[in-house]
Amino acid sequence: MEIYLPIAGMSINFFVILGAGGLVGFLSGLFGVGGGFLLTPLLMMIGIPPAVAAASDSNQIVAGASSGAFAHWRLGNVDFKMGLVILIGGIAGGTIGVQFVKVLRAMGNFEFVMKVVYVIMLGLVGSAMFMESWRTIRRSKSGGAAVSEEIGGAKLGQLFSVLPLKMHFHRSGLHTSAIFPFLIGVTVGIMAALLGVGGGFIMVPAMIYIIGMPTIAAIGTDLFQIVLTSANVTLQQAFVNKTVDLLLALILLGGSTIGAQFGAIAGRRLKGEQIRILLAIIVLALTVKLFFDLVLTPTDLVSLAPAKGGGH
């Protein structure tokens, strides 16, 4: 069953997109991380123009995160003050990011920069996760108790508490400087625009280990700000680059929702560190693939530089 995507300007099998969304949804249900950072490269692999893939992925994240955010808000897990500070940073970062995308597209190197950033990000996250879960598995085999890795982070937290612009974050029970949450927001906002990701896979560890928030509040607050940051990126992409394919986003949402249910079921049958090492392997495999794309001689030296309007 073929479906014609109006903005991507191409005809593609409906089930291929649903499957891509489903696969990423399954992984995110299994691993509890956002699938954005996997979805954009996957969409590019099936032939969606990179700029349309990133913009539509942001749109899909708005939908994907809103249900989770709503649930956490009802449970009182959202630190609105913290979320707001991160959000201000996120909006600033997202706006800068979209302009950055515009310049890069005009220069014809958007795809290159996107892939480089991906290789670095995924490589770092993948190796860190692999090492952490490998250690946990070995430790549990030798019978020792798992120790949380907060020691290094807690010191950083103390450092941030001496910085100026102190604020009291009631829900997280913290009294710390607003500068760092703001900077995290800016970084994640730029990445959201550049890569079409929600940024949860950086944001949550940063909030827990570096800012020192309780895990459940970090997840709730993260989801809250992802909805708004992704909404901002979607708006900017729609205004500036006109590359949001709503049809694509909605099919992806359908797929990822179904996939997430199965992922959550599978997740209950595996141990945490087994899940994490599996995710690390997937992330590293993707990194290697993207890296080879950058260094191997391309089959076509002349290629279309995406023109205004995305598809063509």
């Binding site: 069953m1 073929e2 014609y4 109006p6 903005i7 300007g9 005809s11 995110s28 249900g29 509890g32 991380v33 956002g34 699938g35 749109n59 899909q60 708005v62 939908a63 994907g64 995160a65 809103s66 249900s67 989770g68 955010a69 709503f70 649930a71 220069m107 014809g108 190197n109 290159f112 480089v116 993260d222 989801l223 909404a231 979607t234 708006l235 992409q237 729609a238 205004f239 006109k242 949001v244 709503l246 909605l250 949402l253 990822s256 929702t257 997430a260 249910q261 260094v295 191997l296 391309p298 076509d300 030296l301 002349v302 290629s303 279309l304 530089a305 995406p306 023109a307 598809g311 063509h312």
Partner: protein, 265 residues
């Protein structure tokens, strides 16, 4: 037949007197009567490209046929040329290419160079060399190199052929001619063929001379949801952006209610 000779004579005189420009005027030729299986292609939700069958009557029995499909609009594309920078391959220069047709397909009874001379091919814009003649290159970024024009032209042809927007086929199986008179063939319009008007022109030649000409116009347009989404997103981006976000929020909350704790973060 007599009429044909008169045409040749006139053509010859015009050709001698007027130089190359407009020496051959296809419209003045005997009409190649053609019919298309349809003249309108609608891009709907399940559009996956389309094909149109053409039937025609060769005005001169046994004459060679060259049938050309072109888009009325010409393409304005930016082509980036990759080069090695350190260990990486990245776009090192960019050309703005104008003048090349957006779509260009030819079916002929024999290879074009066996039917007509290069001069006639150039004049009637039949074949890739003529496309190249029409194409304009402007360096937008990077440093020009002498072989760039060739490289970019070949790259463009390759991209277009890959997307099934360009091809040139000289195959009696694709262009069947019954008794030298009645011909039929079909053109495939890939999903990438965007909205606009397309021309299908049939040229008949004997001994390298144009003896007949016919024209069909095909229109492609988006309809329904496709047309609406494209129009809104390109012309009312603010409204479209807000709508995209609201629909996503609504869909997400709906899904969350259905699955209680669905979606992902």
């Amino acid at each position: 037949m007599k009429r044909c000779w008169t045409f040749f004579l006139i053509l010859g005189l015009v050709g001698l007197g007027g130089g190359r420009a407009q020496a051959i005027s296809p419209e003045a030729q005997e009409k190649v009567v053609t019919a298309a299986s349809k003249n309108l292609i609608e891009i709907g939700l399940s559009y996956r490209g389309d094909q149109i069958h053409f039937f025609g009557l060769n005005p001169v029995s046994g004459a060679d046929l060259i049938i050309r499909l072109t888009a009325e609009k010409s393409d304005e594309v930016k082509l980036s040329v990759k080069g090695r920078v350190g260990p990486f391959w990245m776009a090192v220069k960019q050309y703005d290419v104008t003048g090349a047709p957006f779509m260009y397909k030819i079916h002929s009874t024999r290879p074009i160079n066996e039917i007509i001379s290069p001069a006639v091919a150039q004049e009637l814009e039949l074949g890739y060399p003529a496309v190249r003649q029409r194409m304009n290159l402007k360096l937008a970024r990077g440093d020009a190199a002498p072989d760039d024009a060739e490289k970019v032209f070949k790259g463009l042809i390759k991209i277009k052929e890959k997307g099934n927007l360009y091809n040139i086929v000289a195959d009696p199986k694709r262009l069947e001619v019954a008794e030298g008179k009645l011909f039929k063939h079909f053109f495939r319009f890939p999903p990438a063929a965007s909205e606009g008007r397309y021309l299908v022109e049939s040229f008949a030649f004997t001994d390298g001379q144009l003896v007949g000409y016919g024209k069909d116009v095909i229109e492609i347009k988006k309809v329904g949801l496709e047309s609406w989404l494209t129009n809104i997103s390109q012309n009312y981006p603010v409204f479209f952006g807000i709508m995209a976000v609201l629909i996503a929020l609504g869909a997400g909350l709906l899904v969350g209610m259905i699955f209680k704790k669905g979606g992902h973060h």
